[in-house]
């Protein structure tokens, strides 16, 4: 690079020094507000993925009832005809319902508690940051 080129480059650099455009003062705050919104959206998306759907809970409840009903039937060793089976189920229905509901509700509240704890910890992380 010859002297003239060096001189021109230096002159240009000196001319352009401090000519960056000044952004408005509010731009920084607006950018940070957008970033906080991004962060909340990311946390909410992660939190929504962990929620069990209502249909899942209902299916689990029914499956539990069916399993417990079947288990009780096996224990009773009742392999009679359909009428007799229906009479037996009707007889023991309150007991079946109580046992299966208790197990299902216990399971449901365990998951609900877990879900609420995750939600609280996510909220705490957001407030702390």
């Amino acid at each position: 690079m010859n002297t003239t080129e060096e001189y021109v480059n230096k002159l240009t650099r000196d001319l352009m020094k401090d000519t960056a455009e000044q952004p408005p003062f509010s731009l920084n705050a607006r950018i940070m507000a957008l970033i906080m919104g991004e962060k909340r959206a990311a946390i909410h998306k992660c939190y929504m993925k962990k929620l069990p759907s209502f249909s899942t809970i209902l299916i689990v409840f029914i499956v539990y009832m069916a399993i417990i009903a079947g288990g009780v039937m096996l224990c009773m060793k009742e392999y009679a005809a359909t009428d007799s089976m229906i009479r037996t189920v009707k007889h023991f229905f309150p007991l079946l319902l109580t046992i299966s509901s208790s197990v299902s509700i216990f399971f449901f509240f365990t998951q609900l508690d877990n879900w609420l704890r995750i939600k609280e910890s996510m909220k705490e992380n957001l407030h702390n940051k």
Binding site: V8, T12, T19, N28, M32, I35
Partner: protein, 187 residues
Amino acid sequence: MDEQKWITCILAGDTQSFSCLVAKYEKMAYTIAFRIMENREEAEEVVQDAFVKMYRALPEFQFGSKFSTWFYRIVYRTALSALRGQHIFAGYEEAGATDLTVAEMNAASSVLEREDRKEVISRVLKELPADEGLLLTLYYLEECSVEEIRQITDLTASNIKVKLFRARKHFYEIVQKTMKIEISDLL
């Protein structure tokens, strides 16, 4: 490097460290956006979008290049998207500009001593086409190398050199014209 420390904190969940990145790069990002968009409000939108894109892409940044180069590329591409497909660089050009004349250099030297140098040069830069203003800003103000400008704009190194040469010539022509107009206004 400060950026490395800040990025580590941001990825760990400390969003306040992001404000350090904003404080450091906001001005240059706005300058680049303004050179391309030639409009203040649109440049602000571009800068906001670029910082959000940068935040989303932070987990992928591996310090393979300078952080500034990587971010300015995001700003540049965000500005081009905002222009809706318009290109600011016309294409490969053959070097047609001549060297600077003595009169042009003298006019520019006289500007150097003025108290309102920044205002004069800012007016001159606004008169330049977007691509020339951007190249001069990146090369002479931000002091990016040709290789860094290549990474930001996807132009070839030879194309950048040719365009820089022409942009500089055009810049000095406008400076000389501005000084002549001022002298004739005074007389």
